[in-house]
């Protein structure tokens, strides 16, 4: 079964989506989309450095993405520039540094397009093993970290006061993001990773009644996007990574269509609570 490149692509993509969905929920809840983008862009610097030091690509990308997030924490503490500006600086300078370094390495032939936009049709059995092994580890850590991370997302002070150590969960969360970016790079590419984190989660919001449900739905919606995108790319001969993102976008747009079924009233409930009681 794994002999067929298309099947391998499907299995790899679905495995990735099952991880990016739940993780992406936190990216959306914590408004970290640009942060995820920055970490992803730093991945190209990771690629260049792993080529220089002859490291495994995934390890190099993971290390550089983790370093980029630490650099951000450090710069934020110094407080000279806004987080927004710092992200802009880190994001584009790491991408540019990576591109410049790759250009210097005339002795290696680097498929830049493959790194920027992914090449899911080229995944090997070993890649699949990495995706499922790494993905399972990331999901397991996320489950273990769920309560403190969610509490810190709702209110950092409550989490801190009630002994949940929000600083540590934030740090581990960043490492998880770096790991997912390292795993995902080959599939959707550096420029489109954030899409797979954010779009399925945003689509799931409409249908979710609780955070856990939203995480599961985001995983499923992501998997559906991968399947739809890959089939579409085969059908219309379009690049696979972008096709997956387009499929995710299509599902998101569908989720915006008002449902014909009556919705439970949730939006405006007015301030008559205290009147109820008296």
């Amino acid at each position: 079964m794994l002999d067929d490149f298309f099947t391998r692509a499907l299995i790899a993509g679905v495995g990735l989506a099952l991880v990016t969905g739940p993780l992406g929920c936190f990216v959306v809840w914590r408004r970290m989309a640009y942060f995820g983008d920055t970490m992803a862009h730093s991945a190209l610097l990771g690629v260049a450095l792993s080529l220089v030091f002859e490291l495994n690509l995934m390890i190099g990308v993971f290390l550089v993405a983790a370093l980029a997030s630490l650099a951000l924490l450090f710069l934020e503490r110094r407080g000279a520039l806004s987080t927004d500006a710092l992200l802009g600086i880190l994001s584009h300078s790491t991408l540019a540094l990576g591109l410049v370094m790759v250009a210097f390495m005339t002795w290696v032939r680097v498929d830049l397009m493959g790194f920027l936009f992914g090449d899911i049709l080229a995944v090997s059995r070993l890649d699949i093993a990495f995706i499922y092994g790494g993905g399972a580890a990331v999901l397991a850590l996320l489950v273990m970290l769920w309560r403190p991370l969610l509490a810190a997302t709702v209110n950092t002070d409550i989490a801190q006061a009630e002994g949940l150590n929000p600083g540590r969960s934030r740090f581990v969360f960043m490492l998880l993001m770096a790991a997912v970016i390292a795993i995902a790079m080959k599939i959707v590419g550096i420029l489109l990773i954030t899409a797979l984190l954010i779009i399925p989660a945003a689509t799931a919001r409409r249908f979710a009644g609780g955070p856990e449900m939203m995480a599961v739905l985001a995983a499923l919606i992501g998997a559906a996007s991968v399947i739809g995108g890959l089939i579409g790319s085969l059908e219309f001969d379009t690049p696979s990574g972008p096709s997956i993102v387009v499929a995710a976008l299509a599902l998101f747009v569908l989720s915006l269509v008002p449902s014909p079924l009556p919705q439970p009233q949730q939006g405006k409930t007015a301030d008559h609570a205290t009147e109820d009681r008296s």
Binding site: V28, W29, R30, R31, R147, L150, A151, T153, V154, N155, D157, I158, A159, Q160, A161, E162, G163, L164, A201, A202, R205, A208, G209, G210, P211, M213, M214, Q266, G267, K268, T269, A270, D271, H272, A273, T274, D276, R277, S278
Partner: protein
């Protein structure tokens, strides 16, 4: 449990203690020279104008903010229940009232039901938090904090957004919590008249501890007794004394008539009849006779 109670009766355990604590951020002291202690079964209320360091003091007490000077000592394995002044939830996070209850720790469904019942929002259990009114959300946060059965309950303006009847009910609920689980309560309030009767110590902050006193001493004053029963609102006005002087950035003091001096006058604000309200805590002594010291 029985043993614990008798022990508590002998000498109430000190849950949190602050000695001369101060917090310096972004080039200025948010609050300085705070001494306070909360014991088991005790209610300590912080009052003071906006920006007087009430929230900072409470956060320092529970370790959310690190003090820049002085010491904060908390009892070992202190279980804190915290209701912050402001909680904003992103719309993208779907969260029902029921789910909010187990945010920082697990709980039995029956206990959740009881906590929501006690806070008067049992009918809202399945409602999304974003769809609650300000008062309902405040009750939900309170229910969440008390569900933990904490040793120390820290409430930052717990009745904000709640109307008068609801306010009375919430204060009653807070007192009941204290009586039932025997926790200590550190509360920030801008309305004092209702909690007063149950508060053991009132500490008034204005960047430093202005004054402190047992409310009983306030209640003992004839003016207070005259006003308390019939016109609770007037009683509030009595204790919510006006700060008729402002501490300037350079340490000098501007008075209501516009004059500026190097230190407070004896007849300055909050020097009204608290009977034995502890004005020794008024911390300007260091400045006296030493103009421009700070």
């Amino acid at each position: 449990m029985l043993e614990k109670n008798t022990a508590a009766e002998r000498a109430p355990e000190t849950l949190v203690e602050m000695h001369n604590a101060g917090v310096f951020r972004a080039g200025r002291w948010l609050v300085r020279g705070v001494d306070l202690a909360v014991r088991r079964g005790e209610i300590v209320t912080l009052i003071g104008p906006n920006g007087s360091g009430k929230s900072t003091t409470a956060k320092t007490a529970i370790g959310v903010v690190k003090p820049s000077e002085g010491h904060v000592h908390r009892a070992r394995r202190l279980k804190v229940g915290y209701v912050p002044q402001k909680v904003t939830l992103d719309w993208t996070l779907p969260l029902s009232v029921e789910r909010l209850m187990t945010l920082t720790g697990g709980a039995e469904p029956t206990a959740i039901g009881a906590a929501l019942e006690a806070a008067g929002i049992a009918h809202l259990a399945r409602r999304q938090v974003q769809a609650l009114s300000g008062g309902e959300f405040q009750r939900a946060l309170l229910a969440r904090a008390l569900l933990r059965e904490p040793d120390l309950l820290v409430l930052d303006e717990p009745v904000q957004g709640v109307d008068f009847t609801g306010e009375v009910a919430l204060y009653e609920l807070i007192r009941n919590i204290r009586d039932r689980i025997g926790c200590g309560i550190l509360m920030i309030s801008h309305d004092l008249h209702i909690v007063m009767a149950d508060t053991d110590t009132v500490i008034c902050l204005n960047g430093h501890v202005c004054c402190r006193g047992a409310p009983q001493s306030v209640m003992g004053s004839p003016e207070y007794q005259k006003l308390f029963g019939a016109r609770a609102a007037e009683a509030l006005a009595l204790y919510r004394h006006h700060h008729d002087h402002t501490h300037l950035a350079d340490g000098r003091v501007r008075h209501a008539d516009g004059s500026v001096t190097d230190h407070c006058h004896a007849e300055d604000g909050h020097h009204h009849d608290h009977t034995d309200g502890d004005h020794a805590g008024h911390a300007h002594k260091a400045v006296k006779g030493e103009p421009h010291a700070r």
